[in-house]
Amino acid sequence: MKGSTDGGSGGGVVATGAPEAREGGGRDGNGSGPMLELSGVRKQYGDFVAVKGLDLRAKRGEIFGFLGPNGAGKTTTIRMVAGVLRPTGGRILIGGIDIDVDPEGAKAKVGYIPDRPYLYEKLSGGEFLRFVAGLWGWGAAEADARADRLLELFDLADWKDELIESYSHGMRQKVLISSALIHQPELIVVDEPMVGLDPRSARLLKDLLRTFVAEGGTVFLSTHTLEVAEALCDRIAIIHEGEIIASGTMDDLRAQAEAGGAHLEEIFLKVTGGDVMADVIASLRGAV
């Protein structure tokens, strides 16, 4: 398997349905256009505008990071891309398919990992994965084989037939990640991927995502953990108050923030109002 950095990742488990994967392409493959394209995407709740006309493109074979402070509009954007929320305006294209025009066709290409691991408590892990595979139109036999391999990969094979209500938070998170991979998506949309994972599983997930993009897949992830973003993402967009205020590779971001050699944390603080943050930190020091 191409690009796998962990021998335990299991051959073929993260194989994507991307054309590049089938044709043997790799990172930055020559697919016909971007995997994910947002143009002028807006989301309004009553009078409150949560997302103000976002434009972004994520290529096939890249991990695109989406950063921003609390309430910046990250989760709203992620949920719109996953097809859970409908944008108030603008267009979202997934693999060239407009999610508003052909929602089923667009969603068939996406695997979504939400930030909170709500699952059916009364199903077993294996049943849940089979259920998800069924939603994406997979037959029982192939779904079963993939579920077994994913659960094996995440050390959940012994728990396959136990009801999810007896799982820990981390185990639920692993089932959730498996459920996004089971139907071989072309695009994985992840909201806070590392929450609740132990170090081994966090490492495994990073390797999985890298392998996935190496096979031609695309990852669109939002995170608060800047080290994760810095280590994992090919390109990053920083969203603040519903607007993208900086985007590009790490080098692009450094240039935009005029912060040569700085880490992502410093760039992030600078572009999202770091001066104010510095004052807050100073006053906090006085308070505690």
Binding site: E127, V132, G134, L135, G139, D161, L163
Partner: protein, 534 residues
Amino acid sequence: MFKGLLLGFVGALFWGVTFAVIFRMLLYFRGTQGIGNLLSAKLLGMAFVTFLMILVLSNVITALSTFFLSEDLELVAAAPVDPGTVYGARLMETILDSSWMVALLAVPLLAAYGVVYAASVAYYALALGAVVPFLVIPAVVGSATTLLLVNVFPARRTRDLLALIGLFAAAGLLALLRFVRPERLMRPEEFRNLVDFMAVLRTPTSPWLPSEWVAEALMSYLNGRFDPFPLLLLWSTAAAFVVLGAGLHRRYYRDGFSRAQEGAERRDGRGRSRRLERALARLGPGTRGVVAKEVRTFFRDTTQWSQLILLGVLVVVYVYNISVLPLYTGERVSFLLINVVSFLNLGLAGFVVAAIAARFVFPAMSVEGRMMWLLRSSPLDVRALFWSKYWVGTVPLLVVALPLIVVTNLVLDASPLILTLTTLTMVGMTFALTALALGLGALYPKYDTENVAEIPTSFGGLLFMMSAVIYLAGVVALEGWPVYLFLQSRLSSSDGAMSVLPLVLGVSGAAVLTAVATWLPLRAGVRHVRAMEP
């Protein structure tokens, strides 16, 4: 606004009817020379004993949530708050949650006593003064019972156990109440025996129960010889119980709470999974997944499947009611009356199906609240989701509805025409009632509830039952009258052709109504779920 008005109307109607029934009974009792007051006191005592039983059970179940399973408890447990304060606050919450229904029921009951006995305002103050400690005592007993149970069993197992006990108790009570045939007591010759029975029991039946103290305190006032002792007993017992309950709480709560946080036990579901999947092999993967998921989650949730026990008793009691109808006392009643009763039976059997749909089909979309992230992000069309849920609801309902209507018609000895017509109508009704329940359940969901059993008692549930009754009345009216005319013309050997037209029109009208009642709610539900923002 509409919601408030509707709830207000239904509440007022319920209060009015309860008041009227009790008022009428009390007037009747008062007219009975010598023992009228005794009967009134007995009735009050019986009502409060029933309240007491309901309250203890409901407090045990509520306390499990308020003291052990509620999501905010982790914060409370971590906070440096005195256990006594926590106990007081949680006990208050338990009382409010578990007792509001009984308190609302007590209002028309006590008001009827006040009006019949022409009592002054002081009586109502006294009633309030008696009811408050009466509510506190079972709350303390219920929460203490829960505290002890949780210390023995894990909380999540206890919840299942309680759900089962509660349902068995309710089913037993329902069956018992029905099979003793209380309606016989209203016949004068039976009533003589009741009077004798009451006369023998002049002494209080349960002098140690707070229900008796409430009845004694109120009746002594109403009879003009107020005795403060029962009231003192109520207040002192309530106070002593709260102190004892707080002591138990201090001693056992920490351990119990800690145990309640333990996860559920591991269970093997594999064997069942395979069989179910094989049975559904012909369906497409998406539909098969949803149907299998529905069946599994239903049968693995004790609070859900255990309601089938109550349902079984309901059906048996219904058939029994039909079989004991006084249609065959003495002379055989007319062929026409039997057929009229058959149509009433159709409406009532439809009501039973509606009640079952409210329990099992209405919550179908609400339970998906937290899982909308998955269903909405998947390529499964909302319509396909609805259809899966629709058939999962319709098939079991047909399994209940068809034997119910066929058996009751056979018991009634209805004509083949009526049997065929009502059976076909019942099939249509089941389709429409399932659609109404599913559609309105999607339009008025309760996504945030942890307890599925609460969903049918919501505003949407009430709206569903009202729509179902209107629909059933429509169908019975559209079919019943033309059938009656048709049978009458056949009986009187007049020109049959004249009565065939209304029959055809009526049946067609019912079919159109059924089609509309099936199609409209499903369409509205699908649109609503498509447009919703989870």
